[in-house]
Each structure stands twice: as structure tokens, then as C-alpha cells.
């Protein structure tokens, strides 16, 4: 379903840069630095904002990734990653960033194929193994997005907050707690996501999440990642207990049960005493 063509080198690099800089607003001019080895892109992006890197493509890394893929993934995605009736094709469809997102968040390998949506859980493969699987998939048909490394130092939290409200809060809610959506799907909570995972999700659109490619620059993605990892995951809660940020229903429940209920007990006590 994704339109981005596979990478080869400079021509494809130009396509990526054009897409990343298409928005103009917030995209640092001439920021896209590219490294090529032979006919393959190794990295792109701006090291001061987000740098997208290909996983190490040494022969043993890819061989190890192939073994891991056969052990953990091939029964559904098929041995050559072209998919089956049980799971979609990966070859030429997903990039290393997408693979690392699904494996690092524990959503893949899936536990229950009958579930509409895989849920976050402790990952079965460690980060190095995830990177090896990504290297193997990338060796079949190279493709963006690569694995992002986000530098949060110059991030603007205010911009991040307004971009979050505009693009993310509709589904993930303004507190990042997440919400139920249609047909047994849900927008998961953002409390546990690492900066790299947030950037991977924005750029690759896992599952039913929309893909944000040209309409968010790397600088804007960086600001959103900073807002989520610095504020959403560590809220100020100026009123005291945040109650998990689940929203007005939960807060109303607490106010009615404990607030109004407590007042009723006080009234009862006063009535008894007089």
C-alpha cells in the first residue's frame, strides 16, 4: 500500500530528500546529508535533527538476520518475505525503520493471529537481533524509512505541542493515553515509546496509523518526539494526581465517588452529631 519506491542511490536519494523537504516549513535548508556505498544509501537526514541510518549490512549480520527471520517470522510472512494469507509482504514494502519498530515494541512476532491488532509487550528479540532482521529485509529490496536517531537538543516543545494537538491527539488523545478506534483497533498509549520508536511510527505509519511523510519535516518530527518524550511521558500534573490522563470520564468518576461521596459522609456525620 505504500508508494515509496525502493532505494538504489543518488536518483533515489534525491527522491527521499525531495519528499522530506517537500513541506518547506521547518525543514532545515540543505540539511539532507547522504552517504553512499557502492549503489546503496547508508544514511540520510541531518545529524543535528534526525539521522536515518541503514542497519549494518555486513555479510554475517545479514546471514544472522536471515536465520532469525526464518525462526521467528517466516511461518507467516514466508521465507522470502513476500507474505502469505496470514501476514502481509515485507519485501519492498517496509524499510528497516518499520521492521525495528514492530520488533522492538514486541508487537512482532505476533502472539495471537486472531487479534486484529498486535499489542505492545516485552520484545522477544533483543535490539541487536532486531537490527539483524532489519538488515536482512533491507538486503532483499532496499527501501526507506531507515532507522531514525533523533537529536532532541534544539527541539521546540511549544511547536511540538501544537503539532501533536494537530496531528496526533485526535487518536492518541491530548494526554497521549490512547483510545479505542473502529473494529477492535486502538491507538496505543505513548507512555512507553522511545524517541526512535516515535519517529519510526510517524514516518512509517504502523498498522492503521497514517503515514506522515511530506507534510511533516524532520524538524517538526523532532519537535513532536521531544514533546512526547519530555512532556507526555513526564507530565507536570499541576492539579496533583493526573489519574493517568484517561480523560473526563475517569476524572468525573473520581470526583463524584470520592469528592461528592466524601461530602455526603461529612453531611451524614454532622446530621448524626446535632
Amino acid at each position: 500500500v505504500v508508494a515509496t519506491p525502493p532505494l538504489s542511490c543518488q536518483a533515489e536519494v534525491d527522491k527521499i530528500s525531495a519528499k522530506l523537504n517537500a513541506t518547506g516549513t521547518g525543514a532545515p535548508k540543505g540539511s539532507t546529508t547522504i552517504q553512499c556505498t557502492g549503489s546503496q544509501v547508508v544514511a540520510y537526514g541531518n545529524p543535528r535533527v534526525i539521522r536515518y541510518t541503514r542497519p549494518t549490512s555486513s555479510a554475517e549480520n545479514i546471514a544472522q538476520g536471515k536465520i532469525l527471520f526464518e525462526q521467528n517470522c517466516s511461518s507467516c510472512h514466508s521465507a522470502d518475505a513476500t507474505g502469505s494469507t496470514k501476514a502481509p509482504a515485507l519485501r519492498g514494502v517496509v524499510g528497516p525503520g518499520t521492521v525495528e519498530f514492530w520488533v522492538d515494541t514486541g508487537r512482532m512476532p505476533a502472539t495471537n493471529l486472531l487479534k486484529v491488532q498486535a499489542q505492545r509487550r516485552p520484545p522477544r528479540l533483543n535490539p541487536q537481533e532486531a537490527s539483524q532482521v532489519a538488515a536482512f529485509i533491507n538486503s532483499l529490496t532496499p527501501r526507506a524509512p531507515y532507522v531514525p536517531t533523533v537529536t532532541l537538543r534544539h527541539a521546540n516543545l511549544t511547536t511540538g505541542a501544537s503539532l501533536f494537538a494537530l496531528n496526533c491527539a485526535a487518536c492518541h488523545t491530548i494526554t497521549g493515553f490512547g483510545d479505542e478506534l473502529g473494529f477492535s483497533t486502538n491507538a496505543p498509549t505513548l507512555r512507553d515509546a522511545t524517541p526512535a520508536q516515535i519517529a519510526e511510527a510517524i514516518r512509517s505509519g504502523p498498522g492503521n496509523m497514517p503515514i506522515f511523510a511530506g507534510n511533516l519535516s524532520d524538524g517538526q518530527v523532532r519537535d513532536i518526539v521531544a514533546y512526547v518524550s519530555k512532556y507526555i511521558q513526564h507530565p507536570d500534573d499541576p492539579g496533583g494526581a493526573g489519574l493517568g490522563g484517561v480523560g473526563p470520564v475517569g476524572e468525573g468518576f473520581v470526583a463524584l465517588l470520592f469528592g461528592a461521596g466524601g461530602l455526603m459522609l461529612v453531611c451524614f456525620w454532622i446530621g448524626e452529631r446535632s
Binding site: 519528499k19 485526535a170 505509519g205 497514517p210 511530506g214
Partner: protein, 329 residues
């Protein structure tokens, strides 16, 4: 506070009746009220705490202190004032029950009967003798009664909406712009991407322009090639871009939740779901109509523009809304 002997108030021309309270030898008073000095001091202290609390709240508000200080000062202040008031009532006031006799409100039977007889007899004579004046007075009061209903009717609609509910700022060849007013290029969204767009110029309008709310449109890239959402809308989706009104046809919430594998738009308020590929027909939830679709094309510079405005009123239904364009065609 020390003078506890009160005198009956009012009733100058009637026999003054002293109220049976507020004497130290009143049998209704408790021990604390009979010797009130200590209780008074404690209650005064509590009330002073209350005064300090609410004054502190004022100071905290003026100084824009952190919310925790606003909460603590107001909480302590109101609690102390209330506690002081309750203690005053409990320890210093006499305790009931008290029974006070009240004189009859009604006049005597004979007075009432003679008044009714006089009214019926005399008014009948008066109106019969002055038919014209009686009719005019009655008519005037009747018209006044109707006019008095006007504010009630006006309160139902501050002003007649005219065609405001039917039109938006979208017109022929209006550029789609993002929240910052930047036009949307055809390369902007990947397949599976979504963004909110507005008609160019509407966002720069005055703040009184409330139409921006109904102008908002959700732009989705569903495919790489044009497709047909509903027969007759074949050329509305250039390079797979499709645009629908973001205002739910149920109660007007922003329908911004896009699920790109299911190709569904979900309304956050009541979970209405709209099929993006099939003309935003509601398949679940209370929404009664499809979201109006904005016909798109790509201009010479590669930016997305509208071919025309909506072919129907956007947003929730209203009394005079026509059924045109309800997606039943």
C-alpha cells in the same frame, strides 16, 4: 457580640412580642453559649484563619502563583469560614425545636364573599355600559401578550441564519492550505497520509468569521491513481487524493481519526465510522449522512485546488436542510 439581649424588630403598629431567645437564662442555650467567652475566641480564631485563607487566595491569584497555592489557600479559607459558621450555629445559638404561631393569611369568610359579589356585579355593569372601551382594552392586552412572547421566540435564534448554514468559504478553484496557510503540493502526502486543510484566505480573515470551523476539510491520500468514490464523482480524486468535510453530520465534531488500513474515518465523539473509499458513507454510529466530498483537481503548479464548493450543506442537519446530495444517488 457581647450584647445578647435582643429586642423584637418591626411591627411598629402592632403589639410588640419579644422573641423568646438570646438571654443568658434561656433554657435552650447550651453550656458553651451561657459562658461564651472561650467559644467566641476559638470561633473568631477560626474565622480569622478563613479570612487569611481567602485573602491569600486573592494574593496568589494576583501574583499568578502555581495552581497548588490557589487550591490550598482557597480550600483552607472556605473550609475555615464554613467551619466557623457551623461552630457558631452549633455552640452559641439556642437549640430548638421552636414553635411560632402565625396569624391567618386569609380574610374572614364574610369579607371574601362580599368582595366577590361586588366584583362580579359591578364589573359586569361597567363592561356592558362601555363595550367599545372594554373591547379596546381587551384587544390591547391581548396584543401585548403576543408581543411579550417575541423575546422568547428571539431567544430561540439570535438572528435568522439566512444561507450561512448552506455555504462555506470553498468555491471554484480555491487552493487547499494547511493550518499555517501553506498550499498543499501533490507530493505532500504519502499513500496512507492524512492532514487537515482549509480554504486559502479563510484563516487570515477576521476572528469574527466563524465559517472557518465549517470550512475544515480532512485530506487523505488513499491511492496513487484517481478512483471513484460515488458514481458521478469520477474526477474528484486526482492522484488518489480525496477530501471530505471534517465536520461530522451528526453533531459537528471534527472527524479527524483516520485508520489507513481499514480506510475508515472515525468520529471521536460518538464513534461514527465513514468509508473513505466509498464516499464517506456512515457504516456505524449515529451519523445520519455521508460527509460531503470536496471535488479536487491539481493546478498547473502542482498544488491541490477545489473544483467547486461542497454540493450540499456541510455539518450537522438543521430544520430546512434539503436532502440534496445525501449520497443516495
Amino acid at each position: 457580640m457581647s450584647d445578647h439581649t435582643a429586642h423584637a424588630r418591626g411591627g411598629g403598629h402592632r403589639t410588640p412580642v419579644p422573641m423568646p431567645i438570646a438571654r443568658y437564662d434561656d433554657p435552650h442555650l447550651g453550656d458553651a453559649a451561657r459562658h461564651p467567652e472561650r467559644s467566641e475566641r476559638i470561633i473568631a480564631l477560626i474565622l480569622l484563619v478563613g479570612i487569611a485563607g481567602v485573602a491569600g487566595f486573592g494574593a496568589a491569584y494576583v501574583e499568578a502563583a502555581p495552581p497548588i497555592w490557589l487550591a490550598v489557600t482557597l480550600g483552607v479559607g472556605l473550609f475555615a469560614l464554613g467551619f466557623g459558621m457551623t461552630a457558631w450555629g452549633k455552640y452559641l445559638m439556642p437549640k430548638g425545636p421552636f414553635v411560632e404561631e402565625r396569624h391567618e393569611l386569609a380574610s374572614s369568610e364574610a369579607d371574601r364573599e362580599s368582595m366577590a359579589a361586588a366584583l362580579v356585579e359591578r364589573s359586569g355593569v361597567v363592561v356592558k355600559r362601555r363595550r367599545l372601551l372594554g373591547g379596546l382594552l381587551g384587544g390591547g392586552l391581548g396584543i401585548f401578550g403576543i408581543v411579550a412572547l417575541f423575546p422568547l421566540l428571539r431567544s430561540l435564534a439570535p438572528k435568522l441564519p439566512g444561507n450561512e448554514l448552506e455555504v462555506t468559504d470553498w468555491g471554484k478553484t480555491t487552493r487547499l492550505v494547511d493550518i499555517n496557510g501553506k498550499p498543499v503540493h501533490r507530493t505532500e502526502l504519502a499513500v496512507g497520509g492524512v492532514m487537515s486543510v482549509y480554504p486559502e484566505g479563510a484563516l487570515q480573515g477576521t476572528t469574527e468569521d466563524t465559517k472557518v470551523a465549517v470550512d475544515q476539510v480532512v485530506l487523505i491520500r488513499v491511492a496513487t491513481a484517481p478512483f471513484t468514490t460515488v458514481p458521478g464523482r469520477g474526477n474528484w480524486t486526482p492522484t488518489g487524493y480525496v477530501a471530505y468535510s471534517k465536520v461530522c453530520t451528526h453533531l459537528g465534531c471534527p472527524v479527524g481519526l483516520y485508520e489507513h488500513e481499514l480506510e475508515l474515518l472515525v468520529c471521536p465523539c460518538h464513534q461514527s465510522m465513514f468509508t473513505v473509499r466509498k464516499g464517506a458513507v456512515p457504516i456505524f454510529g449515529p451519523a445520519p449522512r455521508p460527509l460531503p466530498q470536496l471535488p479536487l483537481r491539481i493546478d498547473a503548479e502542482g498544488y491541490l485546488v477545489s473544483q467547486a464548493g461542497f454540493d450540499q450543506a456541510a455539518g450537522p442537519g438543521f430544520w430546512e436542510r434539503t436532502t440534496q446530495g445525501n449520497g443516495t444517488a
